[in-house]
Each structure stands twice: as structure tokens, then as C-alpha cells.
Symmetry: D2
Subunit: 348 residues, 4 copies
């Protein structure tokens, strides 16, 4: 049914990885209590606590938009603002979900060359207004890895959290690709999250091998007060919770969460290495996670499309290629060859 | 892992039925476009259109609370009200989701002996106030089958929709157990929905054999205008949509949606038949779908609990038993025998 | 232009009392800083602090619906509930404002013979559900004087606040007619509010002689955090604040707030005394503030209307008469005589 | 109490003009029906219909933030966007009110040299995204006169409304200083509003001589459906409405609305003429309404402040002076002289 060649337009194009699928199959065994009172959910929560080496609070929700918007709404009131990059998914691709869930909080955005926030940008935004005619900053949101395929180092996250804390702001991390960042830095998840000052992490599952589902992880349990009611009211409490939590268990217990991310990053690196010397083609951003952004003349991109490749150009007109757990290295190579060929034949 | 005896406390305790699971497995084949631009989603939508014999609009969302709340928010503004029974799930078990999604619409509830609305109740509620100091009625919501295990006949739905229409109100049907109602009445889904005047139906999947997911079906396409934006903003648009839609395809193409419901209804009937003559025990409501409510002295219910049976008593202190596609007739019989025995040994 | 006889259908029919009007005229003198940074606003806040003998936080908003809804939204999240009487103005006459401002909080209402809450009712409501499928109680709202013209004694308020506190709930007082309650009990405002456990009081101005305006008074300053942003965002921050605050200053400095309330209560008492012995007529509720509810046969009420009197019958079909600072005793007498006459001539 | 010299930091510093005050005093005569069922409100509505030469719908609300936010929320759903200038009051000075009232609509802003929208900017913004991951444009909002003191000509408004209509967008006009624009253009209000394609106008009262109050005027009556419920729920329905509407009657019947605006514009012109030739000082924007923005070296602005003058510098560091109905030409002259003197003595 899908025997077209593999495409890399989005890491949402991938299927469910075997470890997650098998865990779901195992959980599909007889009856189980609903709404999270089942053994898989308990075990999946414990697996997260082991991974993060702390007694955090975990909530399983259906998708990333909901995870981010619910987490942010727990950190702000309607008259507050959320500081983030102009490239942040919460700003550009969630159709106003943060505003909706929070009943009106405003996103204060700052542009930066590569979509990353810095302590300076954050401070400038947070202190630009202090009168009651403009929303009061309450929380900072950073994406790790970023929408541009960059990865904040542990020190960079620490510097941001330090600046945030000094301004009385909470720190939210949109970790739709948190696993890719961990793989890149080869660090303990704890070091890249709570030990670096992150208050709430939305850990992405769909881009890491699940069919659907994200985990909202509160390292400061006080911030999670009544969050279960928030999830329920917002239509984010699964009745047959085991089918949302068991796949996470599969990812975490097997180590697939990290293997998948490493493989995705590897494929991005592979493509980048193969094409970056091609005339007319350049890497828009350093390749640090599972994304490759290519700047190239429109004629080259057109030629690439004619060869059957799908990709988006929504960030700075660059062609974006995203890799997931299932990326076929042979197909990555085929893409690389086509890029090289197009680069040779098209005069910029 | 779950080799405790099967329980009937909720139809959310059941797993995923084979037809749905296999469809999901088949869909897990290579890469596919995201956000619904895949073949399974298109086929699942068409399967619904076939089933309902009309060119309706279908949206796949994650759970029933979201389905109902989104549908209602498309039918009312914040200053409107939703007329429903005091027993309605939207009123009793969605933690204020309709109010949240609509930004403040009020539920106007009326009690009735069995949790069903009637045209008279509806008219009385809708006309009780007409000043601007109270929310203006905009939509009627009925549950089919009801939370009390009753089923509205086609004529009853028609009478309600007729009354609603005369009052300028839209008709929403919470069909978390719509399949059970169709099974009971042995009627075409179209006859029980749009041909009877239903504007929007939330067709339940979780209680019908899916792991998760509900379908919001607009028979009046004008009401569905921009509904895809509403879903996206509310965190109800699946990125890997095929895993939400393909199981529906499995249910619909195989006919399992109806078989599952029939089996569940059959088990409820079986239990009811076996126990209704027992002294001290009575059926709280006529058994028409997959629920059995038993009124019995507290001592009997305690004795039943001691025998290891799980059940809720949140409606009028009656013990509720719910059956799903996976109910084991032998286990239903075991439950029936225990009820009969408890009835014999406990003097009311 | 208005030389029709005075009517008592509502205490909103009254004009602005001289003390408030003169204060507004005095404030209309040259230019003044906007948004509350003017001397009248500072003095009005101080006058409230003097009156309540405590360093409370005061916010001037435009009307009672906004005052109540903003105060409640500061005390609850969208997934919380507000416990109140079925007769409460927040439930019956604010068109869903509490739900709107809080983004979905639900009102849990209990009926009582006279519209007053008791600790027992409150406890029963607050403990009726404790699962996440239903909004979690967060705040109790009582109206003083009630919509039925009753007044809670200081001990009754204390008992309610004690019960609320034990349940972890805050206490909000809708004091649209707080002055009338103080006048009735002849007590210090502090004794009837914060000393009795009230967290937030909405002190009514319009019914006390202002043209418009209510004061939201936080006795627990922590609850007022960022409330100025909430007011601004909700369209309740007056630019030329002096015209909202100065009339309060007029009311408070002159003592008119209490004189006005006493006069209104006196007129209610006068009417009640004059008619309660009339055959066929009875006082629906004890007359304790500025309202008189009369139960009488429909024919009598019709006859009264034919004599030109305006009144509402929205509570239990009783005729409601409300008195304000401007009630003319002669006109009250004329109404009383008409009631007595109607009572004599109409056979019940 | 206020015998400090007159200041021009804001047109909200002015008091209530005599015509409005006297109308309020006249309305304070005996009892009157509440919630707009009084003669003054009816007459004020009719006066607006006369002024605009059309049978428009008029709603009186308390302030400009509420007027704009309510009007916009009637023109969009939560998943829609509002297109406006980065300088728009709805974006910069309403603390997220449009987002709050609409439950999450996003403001799409475009910068322009002088804070005015053009058809080109509008088209570019409205067509920049068309996928469901980003809010769908629904309405355009322009401010007349702008926050920068500019005035759109009738032809400019027409061009914008033409572009808006072609894109399926409604046109909202924030007319906080609509009167100043009419005074500038010396045109019929109808020509600058509905005849130029404006759907909803928020006509500002506070800046035109009222103590408080704005009028939301729907030229397309269909858009006003149920708007009275919206006002009520949002805490914007005055109980003693006559005190909100009668001052409008005073403004309109006496012609003060236009006289006040002309005087304010005249004073701005007067200041601009007196200072624009001064070395180091320049007009930041052409002076077309009641605002003068002066660009000058910081040292000059400091010197001006030391002379006791109050002003804001929130737009591009320019000093803003705003004039109202009560501006004293002698005091305007005094300000001009101080500016000229500062310009002479401070070397840029």
C-alpha cells in the first residue's frame, strides 16, 4: 500500500518502531483498569523516573501541541506571557494552542539567526515592558533540539535557566526531539533537563518511534498540582491509558528511545556530509540533530522535486529533510546522490 | 500480567479488538504523509460515508471528552447554553470540558427518571429564561445509548430533533455507545442519526473496540467550517494520523463495529436475564444496550465485592456492569451466579 | 422627563446619590493621571482600609458581574468549581460570566429554602465527588445580603468560612448589598468580612448610590497577586479612574454608604410591616435587608400591576420590591396602601 | 486639589467635558429602568443612527479595551487571527484582551514606518500561511486616528476594506480617536466608516470628553447577533445604563463630540507649528490628529522633564504629547516655549 520510496519531508512520516509496537501488543492482553490505574502506566512512569534519576511527575498526553499548551497553561495565567523564539513550534505551528489553553496568554517572540534563545535575548524581552498594559512574562519556552536542528549545550540551557530564574520565570522545554538532543550530547537526560534548571519537559514520543503520545514531565512537583484535572478537562486523559503508556515502556525499557534518536541523527549527519561540498548547496544551520536544512537556488530545489523528493521550505526558503528511527541509509544515500547531481547540473 | 479474572466495571477495561489491531499493524508499513494526508485516513472517512449513506465530514480525535467538547464548541458561543440531561456524560464526567472548550457555555440540565431527555423537558428548559442575564440555549445534547443503558428509539430522536429545530437549536449526539444503540435497534446508522435530525454525532471508538479515538461526524457540512483548525488548536490533530484512522477502517470494513456492539449487548442481556428474578435484586433501568444497573441492598453489594467483583455505584447507588466486545460469556455467567447466590444468602 | 411615579422593581432603578455625585463633580477638576495614579483613587482606597480596619487591597471595577467573575477567577483554575446557592446571582443572572472569566470553572449549586448556604450544604456539595472526572471545588461564594433579602449573621458567616477552610476552599462574598447587611446587623464591616473569614469581598456600589462601579477587596493580599493585570486584560481598568473612585470616596467619607443602606432597609421594613397582616398576602422570606418578597394569588398581583406598579416575579413567583437610597416613603406608603386594598378586594 | 499645571502626557488626563457632565446630571433624575431600557439610552442610540445616517446597532461599554476585544471576539473564533499593525493598541496596550475575550485568537502584526496598515501589508500577512497549523485570518483591525497620530484618508480606508473583503476578512476600526479623524478630514462619519467598508467601529468616548465609555457600532447588523449576551457575560452591561449613555447624548446632541476633537487637533497643530523649526527637534510623524511626537536628543528630553513636563516615550523613543478637549492654549504655548528654549540651549 505504501511502496513508494521513503521520504524525509517530516519525522512524522515514520511508523511505529518495533519496540513500541510490541509493547502495545503485549499490553493488549485482557482487561485492565482505565484512566491510568493499570500496571503499564505505573511501570512507564517508573521507567521515566529511572531515566531522569528523580521522583518526577509524569503525564501521558496525546500529542505535542497538547503537551506544550497544557504545560504552559500550568505555568501561566491568561494575563501572562511566554517568551520564546520566533521559530518556536508553539508560536509557528500550534494554531494558537498555547493562547487557547491558557485563555489568552501572549507569546513574546524574538528572532535569532538560528532559532535559539540566548540569555541576552530573553532578558531583553522580559524587561522590555513592566506596565500592566502588557502581559507579564511568566515562563520561558525553549525547544530542544530546536526547530532548526540545533542543540543547546548543557551550559547553554543552564545559562538560560539562570537568567530565567533571576527574572522570576519558569523554564519549559519543548522536547519534541529531546531524545535527539540527548543522543547528540551523549549526556544523561537529567543533566539536560532538571539539573540544568528545566521545570517542565515535554518529552516527544511521536518523533521518537511512537504512533502517538508525549510525556509531560514535571521536575518541580508543586507545579504539577491538579495537572491531572487539567488534562482531563482538556480532553487529554486516555480512558484505555495502557495503550498510550505501554509503548513508552517499550521505548524506555529497550533503550530504543536513544537508539532511534542516534540513528536519526546519524542519517542527518550522513546526508549533510555527503552534500555540503556541493557547489551551490550549503547547510543553512549546523547539523546537530535529525534535521538537515539546505540552502540552494530555487532551480536546484525544483529539480530535486522533479526527481520525486518531498520536502518543506517553510524556514527561510531552505529545504528541510528530517530523519526518524526508520530512515533507510540506502535511501538517504539516494537522496544525497540526487542532491549532488542536481548541484552539478544546475548552474546557480 | 493480567491474569486476574475479567471485570465488568467499565467498558474501558477492554483491550483492542483484533480487527482494529490488525488494521493498525497493516498501517505500520513504511512512511506516510502526516496530519491525515494518508490513504488510511481517506479510506476510513469514505468508510464512514458509506456507513452513513451520506457525504458527511469526519474528524478523528483522541477521546470522547474532546469529541463532545469540540463538537459542542462548534455549535455554540461562550454565552450560549447546552441543554442536556443531569445524567449526561458531558455534565457529569468531563470535568468541565464543554465549558472549557467553549470558553464558558453553560450546561442546562434537567433530571429525568432514566437519564433521557424528552421534547417536553427540552422545551421547558429552553424556554425557562429569555433575558440576556442568562445564557441563551443554542444546542441540545443527547447520549445514545444513554449513560443509564437506555436507547432512544428512532421516533424519540426524531421528536427531540423536531422540538430542537422549532426552538432554533442544533442537535448533538454523544454516541460513545452509538454502535450499541444501532445493534439494539437493528437499524441503519443513517436512520438513527441524520435522517432523524442529528446535526453532529460523536461516534465512540474506545468503547467499541479501539485502543483510543472517536470520530466527530458532521452531517451538516456548513457546521464543520474550519473545524480542522479547531481540532488542531485544541491539541486534537494527530501527526501520524494513520494510527488513529486505520483502526477505524478495521472496525468498519470488517463489520466488527456492529459485531462488537451486539456481543456487548448480548452479554448485558444475558446477565440481566439471569439475575432479574433474584429476590432483593432489581434492574434499575431497562437493559437495552451494554449496561446493567442493579438495585440491591448495600449488604448484597458488599458481599459481591467480597467475592472479588469490581463495579461502580455512582448512579443512584445502583451497581453498574458494563460489557464490551471482549466480554467472556463464561465470566458473565460466573458473575450472574454470584449475584444469584448473594441474593439468596443475604436477607434484604 | 421621568415624572412617572417612583418604582421599586429594582434597586438599579435609583439614580446617583448626592454625596457620590458631588464627589464626582469635585474630581472633575483639571487634568489628573490616568489608570488609578490620581489622588482620588488613593484616597478612596485608604477610605476602604479605614472602613475595614485593615491593609486590604482594593480594585475598582465597572460592575458587579465583572467584580464577582474576576474575583472568582483569581480563586480558581478552569478545572475547579465554585460552590454556591441555586439562587446566587453568579449562577442565575450573570450569563455565565464566572465560567467565561475562569475559562470553564463550573458552578456547583445547592438549593435551600431561602437561598442561603449552610455549612452542611457546603460540605455535602464539596465532598460529593473526588475523582478527576469532575471539577474540583476551590471556592465558596455567598451573597450578603442574599438575593432573597436575607442576611447571614456574623456567626453564620464564620461557620461557613470555618467549613470552607477545613475543606481547603476560599470564601468569596458577593456583597452587591453588603452595605444593607451591615446596616441590618449594625456591625463593623470588618466583623462581617475578614474577621469572619471572608477572603475576597465584592462591595457593591451601584445598589448603594453610585451610578456604576464595584470594589473588589482582597483581605488576603497574596490572593491579589497580579490582579491589576487581570482587571486590565478583562477590560475592567478605567483610564480616567478618578471618575470611578471619587464617587466611592463621596460615599465612604460622608457615611452615605451606611445611611443609604439604612434608608433602603427602613423602606423595605416599612412596606413589610404595612402589608404582612393583609389576607392572602404573606412575606415569602423574612425581611432583613432592602427587599420585600410577597407571596400572593396571581389575581392580586395582576390587580397591583393594573394599578401601575412594576415588579418582577422571578423567584418562586413572589413579587419582589427593592428599595434604594432614594426610595420615597410616601411612595412606599402608596404602594403599601394599594397592596392592602388589593388584598381586601380580591378573594384569594 | 489639582492645581498643578496642565499636562499633556495623555488624553486620558482630561476631565469630563461640560456637555457630557450636564447630560449625566440631567439623567440623574428619579428612577429609570435598568440595563438600557431607559429613555436616555434609546435617545443616545438614535443620535448615533442620525450621526451615521444608517440604522446601525449600538452597544455602550465601559472602556476601549473591552470595546475592541468584544468587537473582535464577535468577528473571530479562537483559532482565527486578527491582522493589525505592530503599533496597534490591541497589540501593545490591552494586556492580551483580544486573546482573552476570543479565547485564543492570535494577532498577526506587521510593522510599518508610521503604524498604519496598507492593502499590501495586509495581503502579505493574510496570505503568508494557509495551513491548519497556524491561525486563519478572519478580521483586519485598523486604528483611526492611529496610535502615531496619523489619519487614514477615506480612500485609504476604502482600499483596505476592499483588500480585506477580497480576502474574506471583516474590517474593525478602533476609533478611540475617531472623532479626531473626522475633525481632521472634515468628513461625514458615515463616509469614514460604513461607506468606506468598515464593519464594526469602536467609537471612543473617554478621549472625546466622557468620563468613561465607548460605543461599539455594528454597521452590518448580522454581525451584532447576540452581542448583548456577549456584553453581559463579559461584565460590560451597565445596570444603571443611563449614566453610561446620557453623556454620549450630551456629546452628540450638542455637537461637542466634533468641537472637542477639533480643539484637541488644533492644539496639537499649534504645538507642532511652534516647535518644528527648532534645531535638534523634529516631528516623528506628520501631525494629523491630536498627537505630537517629537524626536529629539535624550538630553533635550531630560531638560524638558526637568522643567516639569510629563510625557511618554514608548514609541520609538519619541516624546509624545496628546491633547484633549480641555487643553489650555496658554499651557500649550508654555510647553512650546520650553521646547524651543531647550532646543536652543542643548547642543545635540
Amino acid at each position: 500500500m505504501t511502496h513508494r520510496p521513503q521520504q524525509f519531508a517530516s519525522d512524522n512520516y515514520a511508523g511505529i518502531c518495533p519496540e513500541a509496537f510490541e509493547a502495545m501488543a503485549r499490553a493488549n492482553d485482557g482487561s485492565a483498569s482505565a484512566y491510568g490505574e493499570d500496571v503499564w502506566t505505573k511501570r512507564a512512569c517508573d521507567a521515566f523516573r529511572d531515566l531522569f534519576e528523580t521522583d518526577c511527575e509524569i503525564f501521558f498526553v496525546f500529542n505535542g501541541t497538547a503537551a506544550n499548551a497544557l504545560a504552559l497553561s500550568a505555568l501561566c495565567q491568561s494575563f501572562h506571557s511566554v517568551i520564546c523564539s520566533t521559530a518556536a513550534h508553539v508560536e509557528t505551528d500550534e494554531c494558537g494552542a498555547p493562547e487557547f489553553f491558557s485563555n489568552g496568554a501572549k507569546l513574546l517572540t524574538a528572532a535569532s539567526p538560528d532559532g535559539r534563545l540566548t540569555p541576552e535575548i530573553l532578558r531583553a524581552l522580559a524587561t522590555s515592558r513592566s506596565d500592566i498594559h502588557f502581559p507579564k512574562p511568566s515562563v520561558v519556552s525553549i525547544t530542544q533540539a530546536t526547530e532548526t536542528g540545533r542543540v543547546y549545550s548543557i551550559d547553554e540551557v543552564r545559562a538560560i535557566s539562570f537568567a530565567a530564574r533571576n527574572l522570576g520565570l519558569k523554564l519549559h522545554m519543548d522536547g519534541a526531539r529531546f531524545a535527539n538532543a540527548c543522543a547528540r550530547l551523549d549526556c544523561a537526560p537529567a543533566d539536560l533537563s532538571w539539573r540544568a534548571g528545566v521545570d517542565v519537559l515535554c518529552f516527544g514520543g511521536a518523533k521518537n518511534g511512537l504512533g502517538l503520545g508525549e510525556a509531560v514531565i514535571f521536575f518541580d512537583r508543586a507545579l504539577a498540582a491538579d495537572f491531572e484535572y487539567r488534562c482531563k478537562q482538556a480532553g487529554q486523559l486516555a480512558s484505555k491509558m495502557r495503550f498510550l503508556s505501554a509503548p513508552w515502556l517499550g521505548l524506555l525499557e529497550s533503550g530504543a528511545w536513544l537508539r532511534n534518536a542516534r540513528h536519526a541523527n546519524f542519517c542527518a549527519r550522513k546526508l549533510a556530509d555527503a552534500v555540503e561540498a556541493s557547489p551551490g548547496v550549503s547547510l543553512t544551520f549546523p547539523v546537530e540533530a535529525n534535521a538537515v536544512f539546505l540552502s540552494a537556488p530555487p532551480a536546484m530545489l525544483d529539480a530535486l522535486r522533479e526527481k520525486g523528493w518531498l520536502f518543506y521550505t517553510f524556514i527561510g526558503a531552505a529545504a528541510r529533510f528530517m530523519f526518524a528511527w526508520d530512515a533507510d541509509p540506502a535511501q538517504v544515500e539516494a537522496l544525497a546522490q540526487d542532491i549532488v547531481e542536481v548541484s552539478r547540473t544546475i548552474t546557480p
